[in-house]
Symmetry: C2
Subunit: 179 residues, 2 copies
DNA sequence: ACCTGAACACCGTTCAAGT
DNA sequence: ACCTGAACACCGTTCAAGT
């Protein structure tokens, strides 16, 4: 068989595509390899193990969030980015402590808080990061439960209710006016 | 071989014991069965699948939190309960949407908010639940990363810093005085 | 440099059969 | 009612060997 030649970026592309299709529980190294037309063992040339591949995926998901002005807009952009991919929140949560993708989150929020005159931008960013991760995990969990009938509500009503939750959280955690 | 006779409670006991020993990634149905001296397939008489066993574990973890007075004390008690078992936060997060153990969390916080004169106890409880879950996931992730050297800090300093994070979150999300 | 092929030590779950 | 035993269709990871 022909050698296929891939790099980390291509592998992450394939992994994200598969993630959206089949979800995190079914995302295996063997499936990623299959999507690339390669043997499972070939992945280990590019990546140390599954966890570090997921870290790279998390990194990409967070970086897909566009830059925005101010704490609230930044937080909404990050929320959108995590919700844009199936199980995106869970993937990011699981790698947050290793200060990869999550550090990008924290860093953006820290800058936004600093720009709005926070007295402790680092602490404020930590708290909002933790809320954001818990919130998005909850949203995706609920949406999937609603989709399979395990939670009695329409996806739309879950989306609406959780947007209101997020807004309420931001009202409390982000400064209202920065003058 | 002798029949072993178990009930759901005993299985949850064994699962929690194993969870503390080996962590969620290594917690398999086969290991739980092994700890009980039983074949893996025997578990399926008591439990529909692994996910529902984990839901029962999550339920128990949350119920282990003692009742407390007021929003802040309730939140700290829940935080302690999730942190009391290895990967406790992750277990609870993964079953939160199915309104099992997590509903107990939400319910307690809702009552506490109502008792402090909140205008929307349901929303306030949702926001605090989401922060609590994100926060505790983050703490356990960081502590483990610190333990294996993947994050450069002592477990104590992580514990201290995250306690301050939680207090800051509560300052913003819980009412300061209830008169 | 990058991939194949084969192997190792695992998984969750089902189901007939035992007691 | 509750468990065993065997099977099915999978896993992540390692490593020699190929090109």
């Amino acid at each position: 068989m022909r050698a296929q030649r891939h790099d980390l970026d291509g592998i992450v592309d394939a992994a994200i595509g598969l993630l959206d299709e089949i979800g995190l529980p079914d995302l295996s190294m063997r499936r990623v390899a299959g999507a690339l037309g390669v043997q499972p063992s070939a992945l280990y040339w590019h990546v140390e193990n599954k966890q570090s591949l997921l870290a790279a995926v998390a990194d990409r998901i967070v970086r897909e969030a566009p830059a925005a002005d101010g704490v609230a807009a930044t937080a909404w952009a990050l929320r959108d980015a995590l919700l844009a991919h199936r199980d995106g929140a869970e993937v990011v949560v699981s790698t947050v402590a290793l200060s990869l993708g999550s550090d990008a989150m924290h860093g953006r929020l820290r800058e936004a808080y600093a720009g709005e005159g926070s007295e402790d931008p680092d602490r404020d960013a930590s708290v909002l990061t933790q809320f954001l991760l818990g919130h998005t995990s909850f949203v995706q969990q609920r949406m999937q439960a609603a989709a399979i009938g395990a939670y009695d509500a329409t996806p739309e009503s879950v989306a609406d209710a959780t947007r209101a939750d997020f807004q309420a959280g931001l009202d409390a955690l982000a400064p209202r006016h920065s003058s």
